[in-house]
Symmetry: none
Subunit: 417 residues, 2 copies
């Protein structure tokens, strides 16, 4: 077959009404990309005959591989099977092998096959059955005029099992796939537009088969290089060189590559340096510690944290000086310095991070508006501080950004040490 075009159709009212998050289409996209298939479209339709048939015809007119999820249950609102039969001009007949599967499924669980479930073993005669070892609704594989339609259940566990065991291997067999290479470079504390200016020359000089994408998140921008070719080894080699140049241009804003997160990359650096970390948090309220401990294995370098939300805890547990609190206020350089230094001593760690600020939405003053956050990082030799002016009243965002900037501060301290 020539240039492969693939798309995904998800069927179900519960998706369109925002009741169930369509994680299936996302997962399928990821898996297709990994074997070198770029899906060109995803469509979600409800449990409506006309809409489903329309989605089928459009997909057929555009693509060679159409992966469909949902609408395979035993109830009346499940239309995928009869409509696929109609679309491919098929009769629905009892499939002996599918019946055997259903019987095995139930008998292995010590249950009898009901009439409703027996009906699930009826399949359009023009499709090949795709065995479902994870549930009662078999998948279907239609092949006609260089186009493949695959229908799978909407239950994520069943769909993933069928895709992994059966559909992906068969797709690799049937289609002649291009080689795809992907490199992801992660940056922090730099805006998308500044990055774009930095990288404009690099981007202009990219070969046609390589694309650079900017994927911004709060506080971070992911840079993705995608290359297409015939030879996986060549593409990967080419992308590695391009990735290297890109990292050189962006410099110290790069904290990691691939699947690394800021917290995992900082964790790796701590581990490599046999260093440990503690936090003393006010405005981040535990979120900074949560970011660090969301990394599996973080117990080898994260010792603990004192969340001193109330000033009494700052004084009585963290031993922050009462006069300093009175003179400068809780949101001050002097207080975050004491928080970090005392936490480091109490928990006997290489580094300690502290935060104190006004997360919002209320509580700001003229002098210290919402979004004013002091952060500090203490080590044996010195304590560095920074005042953030986040300029937002969004509590969730302010907490998140404070943690990101604190982790970035730690990252730089580890690099220097």
């Amino acid at each position: 077959m020539n240039e492969l075009k693939a798309e995904i159709i998800a069927i179900g009212d519960e998706l369109l009404l925002g009741q169930t998050l369509d994680s299936n289409s996302h997962w399928i996209s990821e898996k297709l990309t990994e074997i070198g298939i770029f899906p060109c479209r995803r469509t979600t339709v409800g449990d409506l005959r006309e809409d489903i048939l329309d989605a089928f015809s459009q997909a057929k007119s555009r693509s060679n591989l159409v992966l469909i999820t949902g609408g395979l249950g035993p109830t009346n609102d499940d239309l995928t099977k009869p409509l696929l039969a109609e679309f491919f001009d098929s009769d629905i007949l009892l499939n002996e092998s599918a019946l055997e599967d259903v019987e095995n499924y139930f008998h292995s669980r010590g249950r009898e096959v009901s009439e409703v479930n027996r009906k699930q073993a009826e399949l359009p005669d023009k499709c090949q059955k795709v065995t479902n070892a994870y549930g009662t609704a078999p998948g279907m594989w239609f092949e006609e005029n260089n186009t493949v339609f695959v229908s799978m259940p909407g239950v994520p566990r069943e769909m993933k099992g069928i895709m992994t065991d059966q559909v992906l291997p068969k797709v690799k067999e049937v289609f002649d796939l291009p080689a795809i290479g992907i490199k992801m470079v992660k940056t922090v504390a730099i805006g998308e537009s500044v990055l774009a200016e930095m990288l404009s020359e690099f981007e202009e000089q990219l070969p046609n088969h390589v694309k650079l994408a900017y994927l911004p998140e709060a506080g971070e921008v992911k840079l993705r290089l995608t290359g297409r070719g015939k030879d996986k080894v060549l593409i990967d080699k080419e992308l590695s060189l391009l990735e290297e140049s890109l990292i050189k241009i962006v410099g110290s804003y790069v904290y990691g590559k691939g699947n690394e997160t800021l917290a995992s990359s900082v964790g790796k650096a701590l581990k490599n340096a046999s260093s440990t970390i503690a936090t003393a948090e006010s405005c981040t309220g535990g979120y900074l510690a949560h970011q660090i401990t969301s990394v599996a294995g973080s117990s080898s370098y994260f010792m603990g944290s004192i969340i001193s939300y109330n000033n009494e805890i700052k004084k009585n547990v963290l031993r922050v000086d009462n006069d300093t609190l009175l003179k400068h206020g809780a949101v001050s350089e002097q207080v975050v310095i004491q928080m970090a230094e005392n936490a480091r001593k109490m928990m006997n760690t290489t580094f300690a991070l502290s935060t104190s600020g006004i997360a919002g939405p209320d509580g700001g003053t003229e002098e210290k508006p919402v979004g004013t956050v002091w952060i500090a990082c203490a080590s044996e030799l010195k304590t560095v501080t920074k005042c953030l002016h986040l300029g937002s009243k969004d509590r969730t965002l302010n907490i998140h950004l404070s943690a990101i900037y604190a982790l970035d501060m730690l990252r730089k301290e580890i690099l220097e040490n």
Copy 2:
């Protein structure tokens, strides 16, 4: 306008390649449904001229309201603006009001506007600017032949802000919508199927214009009653009565209504009782404190937390007895009791919650597999404990569920006190 058809288009290679989960389309679906608009289709296309234009024409041929997210950044792979201009036969000109917005956005953050950002203030002349108070790319509102196209940034925080502040109110103005009433009842620590059995009779007796939906999340199930009619007051009255019956049936599994979260509902109860709370966390690593402090105003009842990830911190800061740690291990009833009781005393609070468990993915033993978590809640009179067997190796899920069950334990203790 007559029968309203709405659809959603999400634009971005990162979605099609499965690198970013399209949570935007899901959120928009939910919000449209809440104001009585049932989306009939969702489409995702990549950063490709032909595919985007094709999605626009198809949507225009089917629907009156088309909500578009993504592709509005300042970089070259962002095509939505030029293609919308082409599609609506518009010239792209500098929009003075949008420029003012961008300038304000940067100046309030003490930064200068770059050339790239200035370009974001250029808009197709046939659209109305939709102010983006959350970022630099303005939204666009096109109205032509009874069809509205709205373009919004793909960054979820910006899209949600714009939708809430501007787009939803304007949609309600422009379109003739049915009266919709919605009641949301929040339950915790009970499964969807058990709830469905409890509510089967209630559900059967619902009038045709009222629907009950089960929206499961990790540890929680939201129950949504949606009623459609002509008179908003009547619908709301009817739904209030139904909501009351529903809450009676489900009983103490209900923790709140409407927009309440488990943390906000527990916070409200603490405030009403003039009570305070502290946490002592091991496996939740700060996530429990973060849940509590994600609620605005939580500083009035949350004092602080000791995250004792390492046993040394359990001993030296939280004063957990060394013999107890050696004899029973950190993941034990005896240890969570001491953690909660000592934290309560140290921080002088009405209640203290503690957690200690194996979040995974590794670190389990035969006796205490991954997902084994002890939680405790101490008050002046007593300390209650619970052992969770979460049966999952998913670290994120285990941390989340531990916090949910701990908050639920506190909720019940407050009710009893």
